[in-house]
Amino acid sequence: MDKRLVVSPSPHVHGSLTTPRVMLDVVLALLPALAVSTWIFGWRVLGVTFVSVACCVVFEYLIQRFMLKGPLTISNWSAVVTGMLLAFNLPVSIPLWMVAVGALVAIGVGKMTFGGLGKNPFNPALVGRVFMLFSFPVAMTTFPQLADAATGATPLSAIKGALASGMTVHEALATVNWSYSDLLVGFKSGSFGEVSAIALVLGFVWLLVRRVITWHIPVYVLGTIIIFTGILWGVNPDAYMSPIFHILTGGALLGAIFMATDYVTSPMTHGGMLIYSIGIGVITVLIRIWGQYPEGMSFAILIMNSVVPLIDKYVRPRRFGAVRKAKA
């Protein structure tokens, strides 16, 4: 037998999940939210998303081709995911040139300066988003008026403003024109990708079915928010909103399901994920209730991103047979 055989160490088979396939699954998981947003806010949603995705992909290509002169990795879909997530965190009325600037910061500063996918310490889309929030504060907080809404304020900012002016929760709720079912479906103002709780949860189910992520981080983050706000609400329901309100508003679901679970910037072990997730939940609630901003999810994730290397250094997985060997 003269056949030349391939010889390599085991294993000789490989699982079907690869980075491009996983990134594609994240894109698919984001589509329900994109569809609902387009239905609610109109076609401009698709325009903003397209510009964001196109800019992220082009910037990554140009940086790899002409500045890093390294291998091209745009075919792994990760820039598409960054582009979609950045767009989802923007108001629908955002000028398109600002989207391009945000994409440049997300890819250029957030991702490629560190060496590209796998090396970035912070979630690139959030780096772009927070940069835009500081640079274009008006455009980034001007949300569309829905139906017969009195203001374009998001539920979080409307309620926060009302409570700050001395109203009780009951009085504050009387000033708004949305119900909890609106929050669930998405009829509320806000960044266009974050509005529909149902669509985001549908995406979560897809990610779980495809084994892209595990349930740990989203459940821990949302659980922390529920427990923290639940305690406050239980102590004084006149001054603090219910946990359901906190879960259904702002970027809680989008952040917990799609941003906090970013592979690169989250811990490797389950124990680490727990610490990281609790941190995100606590910081989010602190900012929402006592901070300057109505929403704190982005900041909370970025802050906890910075702690991940430390968590990974000290939190080790549960080891098999980690008992002292009995002396014979």
Binding site: V7, P9, R319, A328
Partner: protein
């Protein structure tokens, strides 16, 4: 809830395409090459010379120490050479080659098909017979069985655990043995329990083999009422000794320890059959069931093969090597060894010959680690493969040792699950060998 082991694990595609092929005896080959070392431990010493005529079942290589094993002629014929051959990995090994004639068995071997259930031998007599017959662990580890049955002083065996898990994809030899030789296997199990003096006997079988579970569970009460057949949740690498013990008893073998440290002795179903034949039939270990499989192969088979038959003969018998073959693996796809050459003999520990087509024989190109953490979740030992592989690349041996690199059982779950197709296990193997060398050097000083 079905039982399984506590940490990590993966679920590769099962691909048991040969599971319905009944065990068929392979015709006698024209020549056999019987290696003198088919077990872990010191090689046996040849006791025949060129020109000798040997009978089927005759001792030709004598065990040369405590951890060693006898080797018998698997055929009748003339010894052509006591020489060396080049094994699948390219190493020269001592062997005896015999030209085959029609079978003439050593007197005293019971060749009848009737099952002998009664066994009144003492533990020492059983162990002596097992040692004489050259029985070794048939699951692939090939540790001499008589050594495993000799419980070290100060230790106590509480459980006999029989490994019918067969968690490797493609392999079906244990499954066929359980289905077709179930009664003999269980008699063998009962004899093993007698040899080590335990009352708790568990046969672990993964739930993807419901008919094997049913078959053995039906047979067990009439053979030995202590035998408990336990269905297990399908999860690789459950066939690992430590993980099977954990799945069945909840006890974890301590890091660096042996199964007996938690009172368990594990034997494979194929070994139980070999023990039955050795003790009840006086038949030495001269043949085994080998799964010959692969999507592109003309026909799948579970062959009863004489030890020393060339792998080439097995593949020819199953329709020849397909033109698109890229890799041939001795054993399963997760832990088997890729063969550099096929003119090598079947040995006691070879459970399968797996033919892999060219397009899936080559590895995918490596990408950058995206820190997905899947290797950490998959590792059944609770290690951090991404970190260990990085440490090995940077020659950080102390760090790798502190992160328990020596605990690695080389199951390949990390490499299998890696999104970026990184060869994590390759690095960990290299690091493990180096760290163990350093530990030995330190102890020697």
């Amino acid at each position: 809830m079905l039982k399984t082991f506590p940490i990590g694990g993966i679920h590769p595609s099962e691909s048991k395409i040969s599971k319905d092929c009944r065990i068929e005896p392979m015709p006698l080959p024209a020549m056999v090459t019987i290696p003198l070392s088919q077990h872990i431990g010191t090689p046996s010493e040849a006791i025949v010379v060129k020109g000798d005529r040997v009978l089927t079942g005759q001792l030709i290589g004598r065990s040369s120490g405590f951890v060693s094993s006898n080797v018998h002629s698997s055929v009748t014929g003339t010894v052509m050479a006591v020489d060396t051959f080049v094994d699948q990995g390219g190493m020269r090994r001592p062997c005896i080659t015999i030209q085959t004639e029609p079978d003439e068995w050593v007197p005293g071997i019971d060749l009848s098909g009737n099952v002998v259930r009664e066994c009144n031998l003492s533990p020492a007599e059983i162990i002596a017979k097992v040692a004489a017959a050259g029985v070794v662990g048939m699951g692939g580890a090939t540790f001499p069985t008589h050594v495993k049955l000799t419980v070290p002083t100060g230790k106590k065996a509480e459980y006999l655990i029989i490994n019918g898990v067969e968690c490797e994809p493609y392999l079906t030899d244990d499954y066929r043995v359980m289905m077709e030789r179930g009664e003999e296997v269980l008699v063998g199990v009962s004899i093993l329990a007698r040899a080590i003096g335990v009352d708790r006997i568990m046969v672990g079988i993964e739930n993807n083999k419901p008919d094997a579970i049913k078959h053995l569970a039906q047979l067990a009460p009439e053979i030995d009422s202590r035998i408990e057949v336990v269905p297990l949740k399908v999860c690789y690498p459950q066939g690992s000794e430590k993980h099977l013990i954990a799945a069945l008893t909840g006890r974890q073998v301590p890091s660096g320890g042996l199964p007996i440290d938690v009172g368990a002795i594990v034997q494979n179903v194929g070994t139980a059959l070999a023990v039955y034949e050795a003790v009840q039939k006086n038949k030495p270990l001269i043949e085994r069931v080998v799964t010959v499989t692969g999507q592109s192969l003309v026909r799948q088979a579970n062959l009863k093969v004489r030890i020393g038959t060339s792998v080439t003969d097995l593949i020819e018998y199953c329709g020849g090597l397909p033109a698109d073959t890229g890799k041939v693996v001795a054993g399963g796809p997760m832990m088997g060894r890729a063969m550099a050459r096929l003119d090598v003999p079947v040995v006691k520990g070879m459970s399968a010959v797996l033919v892999i087509p060219d397009e899936s024989a080559r590895r995918q190109s490596e990408q950058l680690c995206v820190r997905c953490g899947k290797c950490v979740s998959a590792c059944p030992m609770g290690l951090e493969p991404y970190l260990l592989s990085k440490m090995v690349r940077k020659a950080m041996w102390n760090g790798a040792e502190a992160h328990n690199i020596t605990d690695c059982i080389e199951c390949g779950s990390c490499s299998w699950t890696c999104l970026s197709a990184l060869p994590l296990l390759d690095y960990i193997r290299v690091g493990k060998a180096e760290v163990m060398r350093r530990i030995r050097a330190r102890k020697g000083r």
